[in-house]
Subunit: 403 residues, 2 copies
């Protein structure tokens, strides 16, 4: 027998992403890949991790590190994060912090908590592919969020949501150095998003995965900080902040967090208890130790390292790309977003780029809820050293110029 006929309707929305397929290309040593949005392992604080695992497993906390844990997460880590959020302008305590297995898990749980089938979720066009994948399981309708000016009013969104059969539950966005565009919302745009959400009586999910990775320009307050300031405090805030240690310490331990009103945290704890009990005890304890000693220095190191790589990539693009190609100039993060002439389909371009130029990227349409964006592509500069950029970007430019 095959069990496929027993799958729920939502199973048909579960699809492999191009990113996954593309990551396989990294195994071919002669491919220069700008595809994967992953940190450079040279930046991992290897020695701090080695020491922390050894200390935890040799000390009086070894039993607790190997045993079951409470679903909300390791208390000292939650306290450390509450203090860190305080430094970001979000006064809160450990009751507002929930530990997740990477910030991806927060997106899954928030979809589960908020979205009934046919409810509306507002996302930018394009947006983080993993967010679309996480939300898809809960069968939302998507509407386009245009933080940088658009003509949709709360009333128009409300009508569209009702027509789709539900209501607008939240707006999801990556306000700093977005995946995939690299763009950062201004303070005024963030305030506009909060106004829109207030008009819709909806939540805001602020995906802050890249927030610490600023290479130049002035920091913009987080949406949650602006929300706390206008609403009088975190318990009255509609914004749910999702953070991650993956980009600053290491992704392989899978530790992220949510900062939000207790009403939301308490439901997320129940969702986690039902879905995986808790994130690994030992990893939370180790992340706490390494964060206490190394977080600030890791942020500083990452800014220098990735900032230089961004500069190198922008220089190479400036020097080699044909005039009809445009790209973003991100102030931080991991990505440059490139727009090609409308007649170019970047999925077809990728096949040729791999076959002829031995260069890889992610085609843009994967990031659009409606599958548009066929003439865009995403380049990641985090793994791209001088040689990769110096060889790979000119090869890509020649391929595009050849048409």
């Amino acid at each position: 027998m095959t069990l496929a006929p027993l799958f729920a309707g939502r199973a048909s929305r579960m699809r492999a992403s191009e990113i996954r397929e593309l990551l396989k290309l990294l195994d071919q040593p002669d491919i220069i890949s700008f595809a994967g949005g992953i940190p450079d392992p040279a930046m991992f604080p290897h020695e701090a991790f080695r020491q922390a695992y050894a200390d935890v497993l040799s000390g009086p906390g070894a039993d607790a590190a190997l045993q079951y844990q409470v679903s909300e997460g390791y208390l000292p880590l939650r306290r450390w994060l509450a203090a860190e959020m305080g430094r970001l302008g979000v006064p809160c305590d450990e009751g507002n912090i929930f530990i997740t297995s990477g910030s991806q898990q927060a997106l899954d749980y928030l979809g589960k908590l908020f979205v009934s089938p046919a409810d509306t979720v507002l996302v930018t066009w394009p947006t983080y592919l993993g967010a679309l994948q996480a939300f898809n399981a809960y069968e939302p309708h998507y509407e386009r969020l245009t933080p940088a000016g658009g003509n949709m009013t709360p009333e128009a969104y409300r009508a569209a949501a009702a027509k789709a059969g539900g209501r607008a539950k939240f707006a999801y966005l990556v306000p700093d150095f977005a995946n995939p565009t690299g763009e950062t919302l201004s303070r005024a745009e963030r305030e506009d998003v909060l106004d829109l959400a207030a008009g819709l009586d909806a939540a805001v999910i602020e995906d802050a995965a890249y927030q610490a990775l600023r290479y130049d320009g002035e920091p913009v307050p987080s949406i949650l900080a602006l929300d706390c300031a206008r609403s009088g405090g975190i318990e009255a805030a509609r914004t749910i902040y999702c953070g991650s240690f993956s980009k600053i310490l290491a992704p392989g331990l899978r530790v992220g967090w949510v900062c939000a009103a207790r009403t939301v945290i308490e439901k997320l704890v129940l969702a986690k208890q039902a879905s995986d009990l808790h994130s690994p005890s030992i990893n939370q304890i180790v992340i706490h130790r390494v964060a206490e000693t190394n977080y600030a220095s890791q942020v500083a190191k990452a800014r220098l390292h990735y900032g230089a790589r961004r500069d190198r990539m922008l220089e190479a693009l400036d020097a080699t790309m044909p005039a009809e190609v445009a790209w973003s100039r991100p102030e931080g993060g991991m990505f440059v977003w490139m727009t090609l002439p409308p007649e170019i389909d970047t999925t077809e371009l990728l096949a040729r780029a791999v076959a002829e130029a031995r260069v890889a990227f992610v085609p843009g349409h994967a990031f659009f809820a409606d599958g548009s964006g066929r003439n865009a592509l995403r380049l990641s500069f985090t793994l791209a050293d001088d040689r990769a950029v110096g060889e790979g970007i000119p090869r890509l430019a020649r391929l595009i110029a050849a048409g």
Copy 2:
């Protein structure tokens, strides 16, 4: 504002379990708790874990241990598990193995994959509370599964499922030393479950969390092994096997696995990619190392240790409990299930047990999909040393005898 009005309908099914509340009692040092079904930390292979983390983080695989991973899991661990499943009578390869963050996560993903609202799930009365919590998010209707004889035919189940508004998707059960009853299904009962599932054209979820913990009696083949034998191989099997390292190595790393037909594994990989990308890389690598060297010896140690604790608890129950109380005599696992006279409500008894006798257990009704079982309770013997049993069981017996 409060975000609660925005929660999806399923959020109302997210509830804190009594177990969670009861675990808090463990923090009170003068309470003797038979509540938590958790392994004894004295059994953890501390030194093997210390060595494995140190070796991995000092060796050439350190970068990979801290980096993102493929969603299906670490290949050498999947190969090791495929060989282990072969020893259990399930010929398969790594394509049939999927790594989860504990077997709890498998239950969440299987609920997500199979259950549309109002579909029917068959569970025993009582069953594992965490399974009910995991499935509840997908809004199933529950019907009672009676593997040890019952008068429901496939036609009757089919009619009940249709009346509830969906169809029977799977039967879930813990065939070895069940949580909470401690009972083990005979080979004939397992074959009957497969017959029923075939008649219903439904899947079978075999939760094998305790399978290795047999203290006496003869092993019974796993349902998946029986299914492979009758259906001709794992790709034609309807059974989905969920395993866990939590009871044999340690729960704090959160590593479990699913063994099933590729049709199912491929969908689970997509579910995981959308929900937390992958289980922590470093923990999978460490579990593989420790399993290679210590799995067999850990199983042997656990059998001796927990077997002796089960014996001690059964002796104490035999010596002290009033005649109107009955209990199971498990051949393995972690639990003894006790049935009191029908007029006793064990939730009320627990309040008095904690207040007057300083003893804790889990009230039975938490394990029933319909909230029945109010005169039953679950005792765990894994953390109960001679003193705890020697003092705690007589105290509980006196409380019950006093009525």
